[in-house]
Symmetry: C2
DNA sequence: CTACATGCAAATCCTTTGCATCCAC
DNA sequence: GTGGATGCAAAGGATTTGCATGTAG
């Protein structure tokens, strides 16, 4: 997704566009994974952009409120942020080995429909973290129990 | 669910059963909602049970590892803990009014199957938090946009 | 010009940890 | 008796906030 698209969308909604905001959006666009606040901040510093970490927090919060990014607790201390874009994705996280597998969004098509129809609830399932056990750890743990 | 059942299950796995552990299990059994660490601790104090908050953290962590309770980030700062029991339940949380609706577990039957079949991943979907907009807030926000 | 965003530093809040003591088994 | 659990106090880490200053519109 292009930074300009997001910038324009936000401006058209009447939001102010500042230098830190532009840069944070750009960093998110260039990232191929989700990022923590610290990650975003580090990338800015690496590019000699002086932005306070509090500003990163505030900007990501603002982007989330404007449905441009998702915020997810993947159980690693700091929340991760990710551009929503056109193709949301989700994660399977192994409780044992912490390995993360990406899964596509169509997995949630049924759930989305049911929630809207049965509960009239419009879910923002843009970046789910599902915890559980991967195949390897499952068989390993089963073996240990003997 | 009865405290004794859980106590026995854990003992049979070779775990030590102490006074704080028994009480924390009891508090969880008597709660009809999920509780934060602080909630659990408060209820202990109210019953004149002197248990350190660090112990509550450690015990809940231990119960989670033994699949007796779920731990969920419902976006309110502190994580909430809940006995898994026989009938897991989940929550729809409105991003606008913060209202929480409980939903039953059968909503996730399809997702569980797909994850196991397609990814060989055994999800621990015992207490999901799905964020989104409830019907009321949705129409309210739609009205504001005009 | 003015409302809003930022930088800076301090505060807050949740959670974890080290270590001496205690107790379940 | 002994390994594991607890209490206590302190540390740690993520996130928020107050306020003076800067700046987009």
């Amino acid at each position: 997704m292009e930074p300009e698209t997001i910038v324009e969308q936000l401006q058209s909604k009447g939001h102010r566009m500042t230098v830190p905001r532009r840069w944070i959006i750009r960093v998110l666009c260039e990232a191929d994974h989700h990022l923590t606040v610290e990650d975003v901040h580090r990338r800015l510093v690496e590019n000699d952009i002086k932005v306070d970490e509090a500003t990163v927090y505030r900007t990501l919060q603002w982007l989330k409120e404007n449905e441009a990014v998702s915020q997810t607790d993947i159980g690693q201390g700091a929340d991760v942020y990710c551009l929503i874009g056109d193709q949301p994705h989700h994660h399977l996280i192994c409780l044992n080995c912490n390995h993360i597998v990406d899964v596509s969004d169509d997995l949630f098509a049924g759930l989305r429909e049911t929630l809207i129809e049965r509960y009239r609830f419009a879910p923002r399932i843009d970046h789910f973290a599902i915890f559980g056990l991967c195949e390897g750890c499952r068989s390993e743990l089963a073996r240990d129990e003997d």
